[in-house]
Symmetry: C2
Subunit: 139 residues, 2 copies
Amino acid sequence: MKNPQALTIGKLARHGGVNIMTIRYYERRGLLPAPARTASGYRLYADDALRRLQFIRQAQLLGFSLSEIQDLLSLRMQPGTTCADIRMRAKEKIAAVEKKIEDLERIKNALTALASACRGKGPTADCPILEALETEHST
Amino acid sequence: MKNPQALTIGKLARHGGVNIMTIRYYERRGLLPAPARTASGYRLYADDALRRLQFIRQAQLLGFSLSEIQDLLSLRMQPGTTCADIRMRAKEKIAAVEKKIEDLERIKNALTALASACRGKGPTADCPILEALETEHST
DNA sequence: ATAAACCCGGTACCTTGGTATAGAGTCAAC
DNA sequence: GTTGACTCTATACCAAGGTACCGGGTTTAT
């Protein structure tokens, strides 16, 4: 390991807070480029691999799937891609997140209504929650 | 088919709005009880299977997983289960949904901040969205 | 110099909620 | 009385995002 910034896969994994298998998986998926190898076949990563890993994890935290992240990464590489392209992806994701939030709000309201209709005592035979579940119902 | 209310799997599927395979899958998972069979092995369902199917679908719409639905169903069967037990499941689900909403709100806010930091023109080299993704960041 | 820790590739497995396919048997209608 | 629609079982496959195991080779530390 002559290169001072070269990381073995284990070190990259520890620094990046992921599992070694995850790194190999990302490489298979094309999210991480295939790194240099030692004579014996060990992967050797430069620092940019760590930044790439961070990119992936941050994007995941923001709700992007690995496929979408792949898309973001390849956009970034393609010359001619503009900031606007990236921003569009972000806006699309915002819209998707908003939709998911709305769906969950609807679910929450329906559940809350059911839970408050149930006075919470007695046998299940006449539980309004169970009853409601047995009948069609525009949630 | 002497029984007037007996349904073949195909009819049950159509009435319930699901795929035939889904019904068999629910049976394998234990969500639907194994029905009676004709001499030739065809499944024959009574009307309560349809109600059960509706229960499952409604509960899914409310965000319950199939395992949780299984739990609800077996709770309902157990004598001694009270309305309060059911209500507790509903409240737990409400809390989980609320947490998911909060997570998504956080994601949405982070994405919105990034998108508005990006003026949407120029090359990707200095796109604030991409930059933000490369650095650790308490979302 | 030898044990511990590391790494290799390949493959299989996990969860969730189904869907598809194959090859066979059965039922209803014309 | 045969064609077409239906059903049967068993097994495999899908997305998504990994995780685990295996049998071997390599490095590192003592």
